[in-house]
């Protein structure tokens, strides 16, 4: 038997849903094995079982041919299994070293031997090309760096089987490339990797085999070399996925949003926004491209009212809204899909139906004479859940926390599309979504445009920007580098502009 990990007949149910339905899953030593499936298919649940966070209702796990009983993550650690969760588990005011050694601290004369620990971490970091500063504070390092700290945490514990749950969802394209290089280094050193991702291209680029799951059941395991993105997508969704969008010509009309000479202070080392001007017209999608941290968060925060502006104007519907409250801006017809779904998108301990009325619970017919109209709120939630295919065990009454990451995202997107906003500000609207869901959201964004509404699309994915936008604004260092028609540009030109090059400056 040459499987390092073998999960047999794993079954796990939650109220109202079977997350894993007799799953068989085998991983060979030294391979990168991709786990693919729709949002809510049960991928995270399966891996949480392997890591000991959940106990399966039935089934057994074999490691290197021996049956094991993984009752908690400590047992998993001892068996050489490590996991990088989608939401990192790091103490923000500890150093990198402290986070890594926590629980396994080397000591000398009662004291923690930070010096030798940090030397050891430096060595590990060099061996795998991680390039981490062991003495930096977590709160000072980028998300990509935090992920590497999580990787080091596993390596420090001598993990042989490394589980990554959607590691690339939070990374910039540049960081994704670096992560892939790191993964190859890990494989070269004899590790085994299980990778959950929705990005088919990443699977094609790096994985050896892929197991596809749908509705808690295994559809099949394939060799990546023998398959294509299209085939994988079809296996996963159960129908053909159109990678081509049916994009009609845009008919832009009057300007709905006008940003004039806007300046916003930066936060957390970011550069802020300087003298930024941009207009968005009804009936078009304007894409905002840029490397993460170049002022996108400041711009969006200022428009929706989460950040104070230093100077400038934000004109919506011919009215300066820069001093209005967030609620007033929303009622002028603005909607916002936030970048961080946990921080600004959902109240995790509220139910789905409550989360779906967060912005308009006080309006008729959601409330009547100051009392919430629960029947209507429930029906409303059922409608959004159906339209956007939000999968949850207990439907409208499930707590947002119990939803899978992608389904949380779909719920937010559903809420923001609801009520047909005149201006939709969509920041990374498809983060963490499966290809089927991405296709649907893209279709809805285009529909919105064709109905004469405006969309400001902020995304780190250049493909998404190029596919959907009519005009593309490029931001660098808090300033507008240029504004181009999507039909007249390509990836290379935008890429150059994202690095600060003016249009036409380089041929």
């Amino acid at each position: 038997m040459d499987y390092v990990v073998e999960m047999r007949n794993i079954r796990k149910s939650f109220p109202g849903i079977i997350a894993c339905d007799n799953i068989d899953f085998q991983v060979k030593k030294g391979e990168i094995h991709a786990l693919l499936g729709e949002n809510g298919a049960g991928k995270s649940t399966l891996m949480n079982i392997l890591f000991g966070l959940y106990q399966p209702d039935a089934g057994s796990i074999y490691l290197r041919g021996k049956k094991v009983n993984i009752v908690n993550p400590n047992v998993a650690n001892e068996l050489g299994i490590g996991m990088v969760h989608q939401h990192f588990k790091l103490v923000h005011n500890f150093t990198v070293t402290e986070n890594i050694i926590l629980g396994l601290e080397p000591t000398r004369a009662l004291m923690i031997d930070t010096r030798s620990a940090s030397a050891q971490i430096k060595e590990l970091s060099q061996k795998y090309g991680l390039n981490v500063d062991p003495d930096a504070k977590i709160s000072d390092v980028s998300v990509g760096m935090q992920q590497r700290v999580e990787i080091l945490k596993m390596l420090y514990r001598d993990a042989e089987i490394l589980i990554f749950d959607e590691p690339t969802a939070v990374l910039t394209p540049q960081e994704v490339r670096e992560l892939m290089k790191i993964m190859r280094n890990l494989i070269d050193e004899g590790k085994t990797i299980i990778l959950i991702t929705h990005k088919l291209r990443e699977i094609m680029a790096i994985a050896d085999r892929s197991t596809v799951i749908r509705w808690g059941k295994v559809v099949g395991t394939v060799n990546v070399a023998d398959t294509t993105e299209e085939k994988l997508a079809e296996m996963m969704v159960g129908r053909k996925v159109l990678f081509e969008l049916n994009k009609k010509e845009a008919h832009p009309k009057e300007e709905i949003l006008r940003i004039e000479k806007l300046s916003v202070a930066g936060s957390g080392g970011a550069k802020g926004l300087k003298n930024f001007s941009l207009g968005v017209r009804c009936g078009e999608i304007v894409g905002l491209a840029g490397v993460d941290g170049n002022g996108q968060a400041e711009l969006v925060g200022a428009i929706i009212g989460l950040r104070k502006i230093l100077s400038g104007k934000i004109i919506l519907h011919d009215r300066d809204v820069s001093t209005l409250s967030i609620r007033e801006r929303i009622s002028t017809g603005m909607a916002h899909i936030p970048e961080d779904r946990h921080k600004h998108g959902l109240i995790l301990d509220y139910s789905v139906q409550e989360n779906l009325v967060l912005k308009n619970y006080y309006l008729e017919p959601f409330s009547h004479k100051g009392l919430l109209n629960w029947d209507y709120i429930y029906d409303h939630a059922e409608r959004v859940i159906k339209d956007f295919d939000v999968r949850a065990g207990e439907g409208a009454e499930a707590s947002a926390r119990s939803l899978s990451g992608g389904n949380q995202q779909k719920a937010i997107v559903g809420r923001e599309f609801d009520g047909n906003p005149d201006l939709l500000i969509a920041v990374q609207p498809t983060r963490g979504l499966d290809v089927g869901a991405i296709e649907y959201i893209h279709k809805r964004l285009l529909e919105q445009r064709d109905q004469g509404k405006a969309v400001l699309l902020v995304s780190l994915e250049l493909d998404e920007i190029l596919d959907l936008s009519d005009r593309i604004a490029v931001i660098f260092n808090g300033e507008l580098v240029g504004l181009v028609n999507a039909a007249e540009t390509d990836e290379n030109e935008i890429g150059l502009m994202m690095a600060g090059g003016k249009r036409g400056a380089t041929a």
Partner: protein, 315 residues
């Protein structure tokens, strides 16, 4: 003026010490993620047990009675704090409410028992701790007179605890794990740290410290148990926040409160201060606390997970 400061200093220090040690207790609990509003009650428990044990034993063992009393107060504080730990850690109760309950139980139980024992409800000790001047060190100019004359042994003991506490919190395995539990218990748990056990230990330590604080107050300042801790526990809590959950910050904050309270207490007998209406001096420490808390709250360094019961299943 200078003379006044020389005179006030020993009193200010004496007042600071019970605050400091109680505050340090709060530090342990809160750094592990458990709010401890119950400091007041824990202190009161220490006062009661300290006064009771000392008053019963001082005729038999004149010299050591005080130390037996202090030790007993620590022990009872620790045991009493177990109640808070059980509610907050095992039962996932609301930590503020549990703390309030601790305060109410302590007040009720100690006063009830004190009445049973003494009738009047007050328990007096005959001899408090005596003040000592430290030989050589007290000859240092200025500092010698400020710090090393008329000192209590408990002061040095508490300062030793401060040093040990700092070392424990920042240099040892135990401290790193404890702080991790207060900042991100899920991270600690996934690294193999038993969050429940760490929090239990922290709350027990906080009870022992607060108990010691209460008994120290009895043997150095008040000399009797009279059914109330007079808000000292809350002042210790304020010192903890004002000191930004750091040992040396707490020392500074506790000394500030100690000094301000002493000035207020002696104002009537010092001509220079007597001109200022008593109400200003008496409210001064509290007004400053309030202002300081309002101002510092924006940059609060409170442990991130403070007040949150740890729920393993939460993802």
């Amino acid at each position: 003026m200078v003379d006044l400061i020389y005179q006030l200093f020993p009193y200010a220090i004496a007042f600071t010490v019970p605050l400091l040690i109680t505050s340090l207790g709060g530090l342990y609990s809160e750094r592990s993620g458990v709010i401890n509003i119950g400091l007041e009650g824990l202190m009161l428990m220490g006062m009661f047990v300290g006064a009771l044990i000392i008053s019963r034993t001082e005729s038999i063992y004149p010299g050591t009675a005080i130390w037996i009393g202090l030790l007993a107060a620590m022990l009872f504080g620790a045991v009493f704090a177990l109640l808070h730990a059980f509610a907050c850690v095992t039962l996932n109760a609301n930590q503020v409410i549990s703390g309030i309950a601790i305060n109410m139980i302590a007040a009720a139980v100690t006063v009830y028992l004190a009445r049973l024992i003494s009738g009047s409800g007050n328990i007096q000790i005959i001899r408090g701790l005596s003040r000592q001047t430290i030989p050589i060190l007290s000859d240092i100019p200025i500092l010698g007179r400020l710090l090393f004359t008329q000192t209590y042994a408990t002061t040095w003991f508490v300062l030793l605890i401060l040093v040990v506490a700092t070392f424990l919190l920042y240099k040892t395995r135990f401290g790193l794990r404890l702080r991790a539990c207060g900042e991100h218990p899920h991270a600690a748990d996934s690294a193999g740290v038993n969050v429940y056990r760490m929090r239990y230990m922290a709350v027990i330590i906080s009870g022992a410290c607060a108990g010691l604080g209460g008994a120290t107050f009895i043997v150095t300042i008040s000399g009797e148990f009279n059914g109330t801790a007079a808000g000292l526990g809350f002042l210790a809590l304020a010192a903890l926040i004002f000191g930004q959950w750091k040992p040396w910050g707490i020392l500074g904050a506790a000394f500030f409160f100690g000094f301000a309270s002493t000035v207020a207490n002696v104002s009537q007998v010092v001509p220079m201060l007597a001109q200022i209406p008593g109400i200003y001096l008496k409210t001064f420490p509290y007004v400053v606390t309030l202002a300081a808390l309002v101002l510092s709250s924006k940059y609060s360094l409170a442990p991130k997970a403070i007040g949150e019961p740890y729920d393993k299943g939460k993802r």
